[in-house]
């Protein structure tokens, strides 16, 4: 199908110094496994030789990719170049933890081809950072951002988090302002999500942590959107903002538009021609299987038309691009209702969620199914 559309490539580096209590990404703290992982990774890349025509985005995420030193990142890149073709002008993003960054490794990353840096700042208040059990301080983040700029990166994204217990609207605005003072090209502002299987999830189940009230969640969301829009950012997805269209995350948009992507590393997901598959969520198993010449796959699904449709609705309605009007054929009554409730805008061709609409994006898709 989309062999002529360049695909996205994702690499999951499944290591962290310690596990953050809210995090549901797959990672382990045993860093002695890094070299095995690297070997297995090289093996995995080779399995896909010829499967995807070309890529125009690479995203190195995790986990904490900055636990890899410059030469390890270079090794990763080299094994890629030898098997897959990355188009010139590809977007190459590296997810970073502020306290891991030094002038030296930044230079090496840059040399290795990284041209977009995403910084896991989360907050610019030390109490909040401590609550999140992050390793870094606000000062370290500021230093890191200066170093990143100094190293010549001109596409920087900052990750921030709201809805942290104890956080006020004021402290949130201050964090935002602090990030804005570095003029990031891109911002991801996530609401703290209390997920199952996380430390916070358990605490919440025991009643030791209370999720935010609906009204407060709304306030944070709206505040963020309003403030950043006012500063000239485009609110292009529920949690994502960019200074201009050219700074939309090229890689992430592939997830939202059913564009092919290949995910490498434990727990990574891939998608091609309506088929999605994913790797085992275990580094050791990942390494073992590949070492034995096997595949690290843990599962696979091929989307039926109905499933594809449902995803298209869901993914589309999370973005300011919205969905094609034809996806809502036969639901005029609902559309009217949503329009008059100010949740969507309807143009000639598309149905586009408003700011308020993005807030209820999880339940909008069902309104258009039969």
């Amino acid at each position: 199908m989309s062999n002529d559309i360049a695909a996205g490539l994702y690499i999951h580096v499944p290591f962290c110094i310690r596990k953050c209590p809210y995090c549901d990404f797959y990672s382990v703290t045993d860093r002695s496994l890094i070299s095995d992982w690297l070997t297995a990774f090289r093996q995995e890349v080779s399995l896909y030789e010829g499967r995807f025509s070309s890529f125009d985005s690479l995203y190195i995420g995790g986990g904490t990719p900055t636990l890899l030193n410059g030469s390890q990142v270079t090794a990763v890149m080299e094994s890629l170049w030898s098997t897959v073709s990355l188009l010139p002008d590809s977007e190459i993003t590296l997810e970073t933890n502020p306290d891991d960054l030094t002038q030296e490794n930044l230079a090496l990353y840059r040399q290795a081809g990284v041209n977009r840096v995403s910084v896991g700042a989360q907050s610019f208040h030390d109490e909040e950072l401590r609550y999140l059990r992050r390793r870094h301080t606000a000062r370290q983040t500021k230093q890191a951002l200066s170093m990143i700029r100094a190293a010549g990166f001109d596409n920087v994204s900052v990750d921030l988090m709201y809805g942290i217990p104890g956080q006020t609207e004021d402290s949130w605005i201050k964090s935002l302002e602090c990030a804005l003072s570095f003029d990031p090209e891109h911002l991801s502002c996530y609401q703290l999500t209390i997920g199952e299987g996380t430390v916070y999830g358990e605490m919440a189940a025991q009643g030791r942590m209370v999720p935010l009230e609906e009204e407060k969640e709304r306030r944070f969301f709206l505040l963020t959107s309003e403030l950043l829009t006012e500063r000239g950012y485009l609110h292009y997805e529920v949690s994502n903002f960019a200074r201009s269209e050219s700074y939309f995350s090229r890689h992430n948009r592939k997830y939202w538009q059913h564009v092919p992507y290949l995910g490498l590393g434990p727990s990574a997901h891939s998608f091609l021609n309506s088929t999605r598959w994913w790797n085992t969520r275990s580094v050791t198993e990942y390494c073992q299987r590949l070492a034995q010449g096997g595949s690290p796959l843990a599962g696979e699904e091929t989307l039926s038309e109905e499933q594809y449709f449902l995803e298209a609705l869901y993914l589309g309605l999370r973005t300011r691009e919205g969905i094609d009007k034809t996806l809502a054929t036969g639901h005029d009554c609902i559309l009217d209702q949503l329009q008059s409730a100010g949740l969507v805008r309807v143009t000639e061709e598309r149905i586009i969620p408003t700011r308020e609409g993005l807030l209820v994006a999880d339940s909008l898709p069902l309104l258009f199914t039969n």
């Binding site: 996530y190 999500t193 939202w256 997901h269 409730a341 949740l343 993005l358 994006a361 339940s363 199914t369």
Partner: protein, 599 residues
Amino acid sequence: MQNIRNFSIIAHIDHGKSTLADRFIQYTGLIEERQFRDQILDTMDIERERGITIKSQTVTLPYVSRSGQEFELNLIDTPGHVDFTYEVSRALASCEGVLLVIDAAQGVEAQTVANLYMALEHDLTVIPVINKIDLPSADVDRVKEEIENELALDPEEALLCSAKEGIGIEDIFEAIINRIPPPAGTVSNPLKALIFDAHYDSFRGTIISCRIFDGSVRPGETIRLMAQASTHKVEEVGVFLIDRKPRKELSAGEVGYIIAGIKAVSDTRIGDTITIDNRPALKPLAGFKVVTPVVFSSLYPISTDDYHSMVEALEKYKLNDAALVYEKDSSAALGQGFRCGFLGLLHLEIVQERLEREYDQSFLMTVPSVQHEFVMHDGRRVTVDNPLYYPDPASIKSSLEPFIKATILIPERYMGAVMKLCMERRGVNSRFSYPTPGRIEMTFEMPLAEAIVDFYDRLKTITQGYGSFDYELIDYRESDLTKLDFLVNGEKVDALSIIVHQDRARQWAVQVCDRLKEEIPRHQFKIAIQGAIGGKIIARSTVSAFRKDVTAKCYGGDITRKRKLLEKQKKGKKRMKMVGSVLIPQSAFVAVLRSDDEQ
């Protein structure tokens, strides 16, 4: 014929009728001990679970008396609830005597009296049996007093037993053969057999249970059902020894079955007389009555895809329950469905449960309705049992609704509360009597409509289970009726419309609006719920919108998970009904029927 006895057991609910029947069967060794299931006569699951007898069944018990004589005792089981009074009456018409079972702890109850009267109407020999004497709370002396005072029977004739422990069973058998007369009748006369039950067997078609009063019948003969005026060729006759046992012939005095290639149970009528086509009886036996439904409700399949499966289920169900009537119905809100008529509330519940359990149907039921009559300005009379067909109010001159005489038996201390309930339900002409010290029998007249939704449950609650309730239809009376509609976001939910008395409209409207508010999940927009008469809104409630549910992240691994969640919700949505832009869960339709105190 001298060695035959035909009898029934009658009792107030839970006084032990089924247990006693089981003991009889066990005593006569009809089935081996290990095959014995408790309450063998109640074959249907629901009967077993609820412990009530719905469909009468019959069994022939072989008994050798103390003096060594062999007898055939035909036990004709009778259903025990007001809805099935007519079937009880037909069963009794087939007997010469009854055992009147009275709980040694509970004593005489409303239905003990009602049943006794019915037995006396049929000129039957009554043997009082005091059951459950094993209970520590058994008070035989008090019960004997009640037998004398309330039933005007000779307490010395009462037998004592414990059906549970198997005490006193043989004495009961001896009383049956000694006190109940053998059946009369003349074998040489033309056949007269009374149909007192029929059920459907998927291999044999309709199995008629009947009592032969005169003459005889054998396979090969052509019978005529006199009221039905249909003829059928007899394939098999026999008696019930738990299982059917074919015989060469059934003759005067006997109780048994006839199989005659009759397709549906509804092709036979309980109470009808069977005779031989070419040598017919001159007159049928007395007492044939067409049973008519008094309570109506519509059934809609939860998923519209299931409509056809429901058509089939109803067809099959009907083969076994001639009392259910139904026809197609359709609602703008709920789609294609069925309007059903029931003998009463219990019948409605039983049909509902059996369709769900035995026929695997899932459906919604609308608020039960009675049959109203409207006299139009042009003099026409219109009968309406479905609010969908409520006539144009401008053309109605007067409205009538059915009234019942309700009989309630309660301990005195609940009188105040029950009076209040009776007033709330528009009860009039109440009368009291004191059958025994401490107990009150209240009778009053009230609209049937008030009794069919949540009356018995309320009564049980306010009397802590002590109240018993029985009713009979008396007449139609003029009444100030109106139609009440419900709207969600301006769209009428026609399946919720009801015809109510003016004075009760507001209360009902408020209650339904509140219930809907609880049951309809929040949507992305505000939902206005309104109760309206004509264009006038008389009650309202609002379901506020939810305004945030979006999850923050959505990357590679999140998409499948989220889609699966949506797929699950989508399935859930199938069980909801879309009215305009609002999804109404089926629970909302059930909730409007729910009793206040269940909340």
